[in-house]
């Protein structure tokens, strides 16, 4: 029986964590994810979970403790944002290469400097090559649903990789929305018990983890890790199918919104997809054939599927809520363009940097993007393939 609630994104994710009832959480406060360990500490303090909370002295130690805990055979999680994720950077790689299925609630926030506490994706995009699965949410319902699905993906025998469940700082994390929660038992049964095969506290035999790896083996280990990430795509879809049976909510690698017959489309991640859908509706009402592709899974990157979905479009705007400082555009722009090229698809593309450091994204801003796409279609060429949206003069 579904539970109707009104929750912020942070409280929604904290609820998913409570329902999962993991063994260990190690976390350090940082805006805007702080509420997650706060809510969780209250669950611990009131006996709502069996979890041990480790109040570490930094995010680096948070991920270090998570690695120690998960390697010991305990289901482990953490939450962080921005510079906290950046401080974990070294440890993110180690968690992934040790094949530890830790879950991390990432509440996306701009990176310093200058210091800025508001939403953009530069934190998790900076971690895109660390070997973590990355799943993004448009709203609090998706953040909750994605977290409920996290361990089924990360702990799968063909995957065994850590997973980052991302939501937009403040916009999703702090805004209170209607949400439908699953029953505690439903989540418990869906997620299941964690029974790893190899772990430090295995009484049958000891184990050593984190070796010095010579050139004779390192490359093979990295290839195995790459294979696990490739395997994750199928597992993500299988878990989503099971989740749909339970919740009647359907998830894929990405969401296509009015994309079937679209001539122009935007590709976007996170909460601004909601704003963009309003723009699509408004323009559709005017008879314009516009559509949207919202990325849910960024790692593994579903390149072939994205190219297939976009191949009928004449022009596409790829929206990056972060900078890459490569003088060409953002990471999503680079990856979508590469996907289109490999597939031999020929839509014109333009890559926008938008909404960084919490710059507001309005329906009319997105309508401007569709207008620019019309101009590209009319001109048959792209001037300025790398642009900023809503930049002050």
């Amino acid at each position: 029986m579904a539970i109707r609630e009104r929750l912020s994104g942070n409280e929604a994710v904290a609820n998913a964590m409570r329902q999962i009832n993991p063994d260990v959480m190690a976390a350090f406060p940082i805006t805007p994810s702080t509420e997650i360990p706060q809510y969780f500490s209250a669950y611990v303090a009131n006996g709502k979970v069996d979890t041990a909370f480790v109040p570490v002295e930094s995010e680096h130690s948070a991920m270090s403790a998570c690695i120690g805990s998960e390697a010991s055979g305990a289901r482990t999680l953490t939450a962080t944002s921005s510079c906290g994720l950046a401080l974990m950077w070294e440890e993110l790689y180690i968690a992934a290469s040790c094949r530890l299925p830790i879950a991390l609630a990432c509440v996306n926030r701009a990176l310093s400097g200058p210091i800025n506490i508001n939403c953009d994706h530069s934190d998790s995009m900076g971690a895109r090559d660390t070997g973590w699965i990355q799943i993004y949410a448009e709203n609090n319902q998706e953040a909750y649903d994605n977290f409920v699905q996290a361990y089924r993906i990360s702990e799968h025998k063909d995957v065994r990789l850590p997973i980052m469940i991302c939501q937009d700082g403040f916009i999703t994390s702090h805004a209170v929305e209607n949400i439908t929660l699953l029953e505690d038992k439903e989540v418990k049964d869906f997620v299941g018990e964690f029974n790893p095969k190899e772990y430090l506290l295995n009484e049958d035999h000891s184990m050593a983890i984190g070796p010095y790896d010579t050139p004779a083996f390192y490359m093979e280990h990295k290839r195995q890790q790459a294979q696990a990430m490739m395997n994750a795509k199928k597992v993500i879809l299988e878990v989503a199918a099971d989740f749909e049976k339970l919740s009647c909510r359907k998830y894929g690698l990405f969401e296509e919104y009015k994309l079937d017959d679209a001539e122009t489309a935007i590709v976007i991640i996170g909460s601004a997809a909601g704003t963009s859908k309003d723009a699509v509706d408004a323009l559709r009402a005017q008879g314009k054939k516009v559509g949207l592709l919202k990325i849910r899974v960024f790692r593994p990157f579903p390149a072939e599927e994205i190219a297939q979905a976009l191949k009928g479009c004449k022009a596409i705007a790829i929206m990056d809520r972060c900078e890459s400082f490569n003088s060409q555009g953002g990471p999503l722009g680079a990856e979508v363009r590469a996907a289109l090229y490999e597939a031999g698809a020929t839509p014109k593309t333009v890559n926008y940097v938008y909404g960084i450091g919490g710059r507001d994204v309005r329906v009319e801003n997105i309508e401007e993007v569709y207008k620019a796409l019309d101009e590209i279609v009319a001109a048959g060429k792209v001037e300025e393939p790398y642009r900023y949206l809503s930049l002050r003069d």
Partner: protein, 309 residues
């Protein structure tokens, strides 16, 4: 404490065949700490990046009989905090029956310096674990660079003696005192003396005292200190007899001096066998030795006050 014969007859938990240098103090420290484990108890060992780690666990071989985790350079404290927390939860849930003890090993670089915050956090949270620093007074794994444990005037590759340099310009940090200020239940400082009963007894106390405990073991490095490898026991003895490296414990906040030399030897006896201090014995550098002696004296006097000797 188990008697000497019993301790020495316990099976090795860090086996031979690893790649540490002959006569390495770090390996002697680790093997002898592990001797203090009761044979029936299991252990999880965390190791900061360093000589001990890269030489004992090179894929696909490990020299460690117990479960072992190497994470990174600066986080053995936090890593083992996570493992110990996992143990408590899984034990409570009835998923584990055996008794596990948790032991971290780090060199002075991974402990005094880059791992200091992680260590301090683990101590303050009072996890039931032992952190063992094998203090060889420099970053030996990367090639003898100075650390905050390096003694004054030591010749290292980042404090080289030169025409305008007399080696490391600063004094060393007193880590055992800093950890004692965390008000943890047990801190011990030791080195290799006689039949190792001081080390074995402190290791046993550290491992079997509930809560966070810390052992600081002076573990000479023949390459970095430049003494004849076979002289390690003499170097350790001189460190203790000159009061450069006193043997003491802090038990529930009470400072206890374990050994007071009848005649405190001049610090030259410790410095002389070591190539890293060779320049101190050049003509005209007598005042440097006097400065070194003064620092040793002041710290010794302070320790006597702490121990109410």
């Amino acid at each position: 404490m188990a008697n000497f014969k019993e301790i020495m007859s316990r099976p090795e938990r860090l086996t031979g065949g690893h790649r540490m240098c002959a006569g390495c103090g770090g390996t002697i420290a680790a093997r002898n700490v592990l001797k203090a484990l009761k044979p029936e108890d299991k252990a999880v060992i965390a190791n900061a990046t360093g000589c001990l780690e890269v030489s004992t666990f090179m894929y696909p071989y490990t020299a460690w009989k117990d479960s072992y985790i190497h994470n990174a350079f600066e986080n053995a404290g936090a890593t083992l905090s996570g493992a110990e927390t996992a143990y408590n939860v899984l034990k409570k849930k009835g998923k584990i029956n055996s008794t596990y003890k948790f032991i971290a090993f780090g060199g002075d670089g991974g402990t005094y310096d880059i791992g200091f915050q992680s260590l301090s956090g683990a101590m303050e949270r009072n996890h039931d674990l032992v952190y063992v620093c094998y203090d060889n007074g420099a970053y030996m794994n990367t090639g003898i660079q100075r650390s905050s444990a390096t003694p004054h005037f030591a010749d290292t590759t980042t404090t080289p003696v030169g025409s305008v340099s007399t080696g490391k310009p600063q004094n060393r940090k007193d880590l055992a005192e800093i950890i004692a200020s965390h008000h943890v239940p047990y801190v011990g400082q030791t080195t290799f003396i006689g039949n190792f009963s001081d080390l074995h007894s402190k290791a046993e106390k550290a491992i079997y005292t509930k809560g966070a405990t810390f052992l600081n073991i002076m573990a000479p490095c023949p390459r970095g200190w430049r003494y004849a490898t076979e002289d390690i026991m003499h170097v350790c003895k001189m460190a203790v007899e000159t009061c450069y490296w006193p043997l003491f414990e802090v038990i529930d906040g009470k400072w206890v001096l374990n050994y007071k030399p009848k005649t405190k030897l001049p610090v030259e006896e410790f410095l002389k066998p070591q190539g890293r201090f060779k320049h101190l014995f050049k003509k005209g550098n007598e005042d440097l030795i006097a400065q070194f002696q003064k620092e040793v004296d002041e710290r010794w006097e302070q320790l006597l006050r702490f121990c109410e000797e």
